[in-house]
């Protein structure tokens, strides 16, 4: 399974990752992707999107999904 992972804003700077393709068979939900990427639990304030729609840590993922992690939004 290949998951495209994207980080934005302060998360992108902290983890020094903009975009990366993760190849792994052990990922079933969004939280697994974060764990796989960082080795840490997904912090509660981090927002997540799957294929450009808001999702939750327990949202299931499938091959070729784009999973994004970002801090609270501050536009406008």
């Amino acid at each position: 399974m290949t998951i495209r992972v994207r980080l934005f804003a302060s998360l992108q700077e902290k983890w020094r990752i903009d975009q990366i393709d993760l190849e792994s068979t052990g990922m079933e939900k969004v939280a697994d992707v974060w764990l796989n990427l960082t080795g840490e639990e997904l912090p509660s304030q981090v927002l997540v999107a799957v294929n450009m729609e808001y999702a939750r840590p327990d949202t299931p993922i499938k091959d070729e999904d784009e999973v994004a992690f970002f801090p609270p939004v501050t536009g406008g």
Partner: protein, 145 residues
């Protein structure tokens, strides 16, 4: 024909409104237009701000703004709506966001414009990074409306 524009260069909101209205609206069809413009101030929470960088999620940002307009349209009858939002490097005094709604009546125009603006602030994937005398920092959360 609602429209979402992400602008990488400074824009004049009043000129955008003029252009959009002339191109999209039928003369005599709308009675009420409510508009909000957010502009970059040179102060934020007591601190001087010298410049601002606006990050976004290309693709998702546009989709989320379009979803917001669709949701607004299911709640209020409006003829047309426009969202324009800056991305990239922004200087004090430059507009950051424009939200405009054209309706038959004023109640719906006011309500829809404000709802869209609050939805944008809470959901649209934009992130501000401010540069001030103390250095560079990511803004951590938006102020309440």
């Amino acid at each position: 024909m609602v429209q979402v524009i992400l602008a990488s260069q400074p824009f004049d909101p009043w000129k955008s409104l003029q252009t959009f209205q002339n191109a999209m609206l039928t003369v005599g069809s709308y009675g009420a237009t409510a508009v909000f413009v957010g502009t970059m101030r040179d102060f934020n929470e007591g601190e001087r701000v010298e410049s601002l960088f606006l990050d976004h999620y290309p693709g998702m940002t546009e989709r989320e703004l379009e979803r917001i307009l669709r949701e607004a349209r299911s709640q209020w009858e409006f003829l047309d709506a426009l969202i324009e939002h800056r991305v990239g490097e922004i200087e004090p005094g430059e507009p950051i966001v424009l939200v405009a709604v054209w309706c038959a009546h004023r109640g719906a125009a006011f309500d829809a414009c404000r709802w869209i603006m609050e939805a944008l602030k809470s959901r649209a994937p934009f992130w501000k990074k401010e540069t001030g005398p103390a250095g560079v920092r990511w803004v951590e959360r938006n102020t309440a409306g």
